[in-house]
Subunit: 198 residues, 2 copies
């Protein structure tokens, strides 16, 4: 891109590494950044560096955080006897937004995927097992409803049931507002199997 | 977003300011950035700061560059007697990619838009007029084919014709590969008006 100056080209290259950002979007983002004030740009760049700098896993639930214990695990008003297992910190955030869950989490940072050569040791499963002492009342498995998510859920449930802990799985079914006509057969059959009495 | 640590929240806020990036996309970008190596993150942040730092308008064509004269204006092999007027640096890049144009450019940094209260003084029009000495052979107006782009083209052409310089406008018509059936009436009527003999 010799019609852009070197520094602009480098910015565009760096931006196009981001997921879902192609060259055209990277150009648009780059020119937006160039149109911001010097102060805003400095803030933006330091937000990136700072977020990365202090980041590590929460000592308890392994979510990404910059304190030893994340705000959720540190909150004594939450129910520490119920653990929801999620694939990543974004999924944790999705459940937090519902405002319906008051337990704590465990972040696996991935799924078991024999296809991609990822086994139980490649996710934070050992750390989950270590948390399962006698006090835990329920383990809610909230991995995605994908092949890998289901495989991971099955694997964990077998492992944990042996320890005599109650294991549940979030429901699969028709999304609220969804139109039956447009929903795939697998989801429909899950919705039927999971029907509840009214 | 109290379920993210402060620094992550701040990064997400900063990213969601970018055009076309909502909170969900910003989260995805943020976690991608957090998954990069420390070195990559440093590079990324400094690409942002560096691009902004040295940036200013080219002394001749007013494109964004970090040298006094941009690479295109500095290139003596280009035809400096033909000037293409574009709205912004991205549009300049779009024409450069065609490889079909060997003249120079003039970047307006906007359009005339009475609706939005932008008059001729709010774009780099004065600077264009100053470049129009006797040597210029042709001014090609390549503003967008929008209401503002057309208004700007009309305004400039009236102004420049008085100076006795040849003014042309890029053609409007059916895009290559376009299906007539799906093209709007205005474009079709422009395509008809602009027909050329075979």
């Amino acid at each position: 891109m010799e019609f852009y100056s070197n520094n602009i080209s480098r910015l565009i290259e760096n931006l196009s590494v981001l997921p879902g950002v192609g060259t055209k979007t990277a150009q648009r983002l780059a020119f937006h950044i160039l149109s911001m004030s010097d102060e805003q740009v400095e803030k933006f760049a330091s937000a990136i560096v700072n977020a990365k700098k202090g980041i590590h896993f929460c000592n308890e639930c392994l979510t990404l955080t910059d304190s030893d214990i994340c705000p959720i695990c540190a909150n004594k008003e939450r129910d520490h006897k119920t653990i929801m297992v999620v694939e990543n910190t974004r999924d944790l955030a999705a459940y937090e937004k519902t405002g319906e869950y008051n337990g704590v989490y465990h972040v696996l940072h991935g799924t078991i995927s024999p296809m991609l050569g990822r086994g139980p040791d490649d996710i934070k499963l050992k750390e989950l097992i270590q948390r399962l002492h006698g006090d835990i009342q329920e383990l809610i498995i909230a991995t995605n409803s994908s092949v890998e998510g289901e495989a991971t859920a099955m694997y964990i449930s077998k492992l944990v049931k042996q320890a005599g802990i109650k294991v549940t799985r979030i429901a699969s079914g028709v999304p609220v507002g969804g139109d039956l006509e447009y929903i795939d057969e697998v989801t429909l059959s899950y919705a039927l199997k999971g029907r509840i009495e009214l």
